[in-house]
Symmetry: C2
Subunit: 439 residues, 2 copies
Amino acid sequence: MTKSAIGVGLIGCGTVGGGVAKLLRDQADLYEQRIGRPIVLRRLLDKEKDRVIQSGLADSAVVTDDVDSFFDTPDMQVVIELAGGTGAASVFVKRALEAGKHVVTANKALLAEQGPELFALARENNASIAFEASCGGGIPCVTALTFGLMANRIDALYGILNGTCNYILTEMTGKGKDYGTALADAQKPGYAEADPTLDVTGGDTAHKIAILASLGFGVNITGDQVPARGVDGLDLNDIKFGDELGYDIKLLAIAERQPDGESVSVGVEPCFIHKTDLLAQVGGAFNALSVYGHAVGHTLYYGAGAGQMPTASAVVADVMNIAAGWYGPAFQNMKLTPDLHAPAKLAAPESLVSRYYLRINAIDKPGVIAQATAALGNAGISLSAVLQHENNAGSYVPIVIVTHKAAQGDLLAAVKQIESMQVIDGSPVVIRIVDLPDE
Amino acid sequence: MTKSAIGVGLIGCGTVGGGVAKLLRDQADLYEQRIGRPIVLRRLLDKEKDRVIQSGLADSAVVTDDVDSFFDTPDMQVVIELAGGTGAASVFVKRALEAGKHVVTANKALLAEQGPELFALARENNASIAFEASCGGGIPCVTALTFGLMANRIDALYGILNGTCNYILTEMTGKGKDYGTALADAQKPGYAEADPTLDVTGGDTAHKIAILASLGFGVNITGDQVPARGVDGLDLNDIKFGDELGYDIKLLAIAERQPDGESVSVGVEPCFIHKTDLLAQVGGAFNALSVYGHAVGHTLYYGAGAGQMPTASAVVADVMNIAAGWYGPAFQNMKLTPDLHAPAKLAAPESLVSRYYLRINAIDKPGVIAQATAALGNAGISLSAVLQHENNAGSYVPIVIVTHKAAQGDLLAAVKQIESMQVIDGSPVVIRIVDLPDE
């Protein structure tokens, strides 16, 4: 017995929306076979109605640019929001939920900003929000974190969650390009947008880790609570020095349960990781998420973090899981979303302990290394490596210092002291070195 | 409002069963918070009742060695089968399903042999079978393949699915141990069992890929349909030659949709993969599964493939997903299990196309390489590399030949011809070289 069709409305027929329309059209038989009922695209809302009709991705009768007409469509149980941003998208999502429709979204900015409010609204209306595509593109990491790893107290997440940044860093590392060249080269094939700000400053990554950390730790963390440093300030010299020391640089989203067991730290910054780490093998526009659970240990999820069809894959899976009748109850019965959780107890940044890479630009004369390292020694910070090459150019020379574990507050205070020394030129470069936990 | 408790019965309190009992006891509050109802271990069936009671893992009143008493336990909605094997375990699973209880199992042998019958029985009784722990231990790869990647036509699976074999190969590769030494060293810390036959011959891996390929391709493949070659015949010399050529050896489970789009190939064998492949980075007792979907491209899932707590993590997640009320409907509504699918159209092994590594032992005199390579040339097989070191020992010398793509049937016919040459000693070694698909 075939069940009745499930009706879908799609808001936004850009890159990802086009992929979704394509999948629903081309794989209709496969999907019906898998979930036992047909999925029908009942309505498609896009401001550029004519462009969409010309693309041939949907029947012209289905396409509209009128919001009311879209929401008045009968037999539309699921709304896919791919409008993006936190303005109109928020209005659309609320309107859908209030009408008791399930929502599927890839909108990390919206969920990182308004997640609790929207999740609560879904609960009230006996609807659900599915958001696999919001983090890690096509990688089913939300599914893994919520359903697959349910038996674990999650202890840490380390993610490469922005394909643009990872592509830029891979080009800088592998081909010795400077940041500006790597960015320009990423824009040509579309790996970076014309305005790459949200990506390269770490903002997009911050949104994603806010969502994932909220789920993993069972707390409520919003995007604006995540301190983010991007790849835009990176100097190729530091990548080269790191290489010499055995490290690769990655823009990491990090969320760690602190030793007290209650507070958590969340942040985004370019970090050095050991070249032998699995995360260091994630190249180009790919993404990966490492999850450490108290029972399972280390698990890692890898795949395309963006792009038309990978993201559409995640969106359509969400639609199918709703259509199969299980995602709704799972959303309602499981207490996983941040609307049900207290705000996270965030650890004070100055208390966070890590190893660090420092590069200072010093006058090339005797005693300078001693002076700089004394400042670290006085702060109780011991060193694991110092690197200075022979100087063939000018009166300043870069000195690289690798520390043992130190509290961030102590480290930054010592760096400030070093910065004020007359023998030092400019600001020291500080990059966190992440020693990933035992598996 | 807290819902009523869900009652669980556990069959088998060995390594994994002990881990499950531990999790249910130690994380009861966390689990209740996540799914909104308590999970209660109502009964534990084990032949060694006294040992289990002494372990303190369960109330003595809960432990029984009497099968009827176990199944008569009231308020027991979920049965966890960790007895192992395909005899008593099958009887237990059927009895549970016939009583309308959900079953959670880690038993790959049982599912690879009797899966369709058991899945059908679950459907008839409005129950379900959850089996995340049967493949890839703690890695939620079944969840990813069934729910997360639903929108994809799956094109290929490549898995490192046996921790024992991967541990042995990592020791052989990294430390230059021969097979016997690596196996003995794996037995000491418990990475290999006292009788490692099922692991090292590839049988266990064959069970797992039968299950995963059935799910991925939407067909019915049983374990005995999977040709398996293990790691037990491997010669350290081939690992060293492979290393020189840029390859690592891995015991790969491979399932590929064939170019005709309908037939599939499934098999288990030690393969050479490029050192730069992500799968080549999977070391020690860890597992990984690479999945290629038509929309998402390449995704990979990595983690502990065995061990007490990782496997218990997967088992308990299954229990929680059932208890939360969504896994049952998902199992019933989605048409994913092999009881609903036709037997796979398996491609003829001789038609499979791949690159190959050959090692022949030849008399060290002029013209031998020409003679051996002529046999390949006559079969239309071209070569990409030939490797012969200077000979300082004896009258025979190993010659390594790397072919371009060739049909397995043609390759093996040529190898047979080479083997029959008077200048060749013993049987040539043949190892498949896998060039993983574009991402």
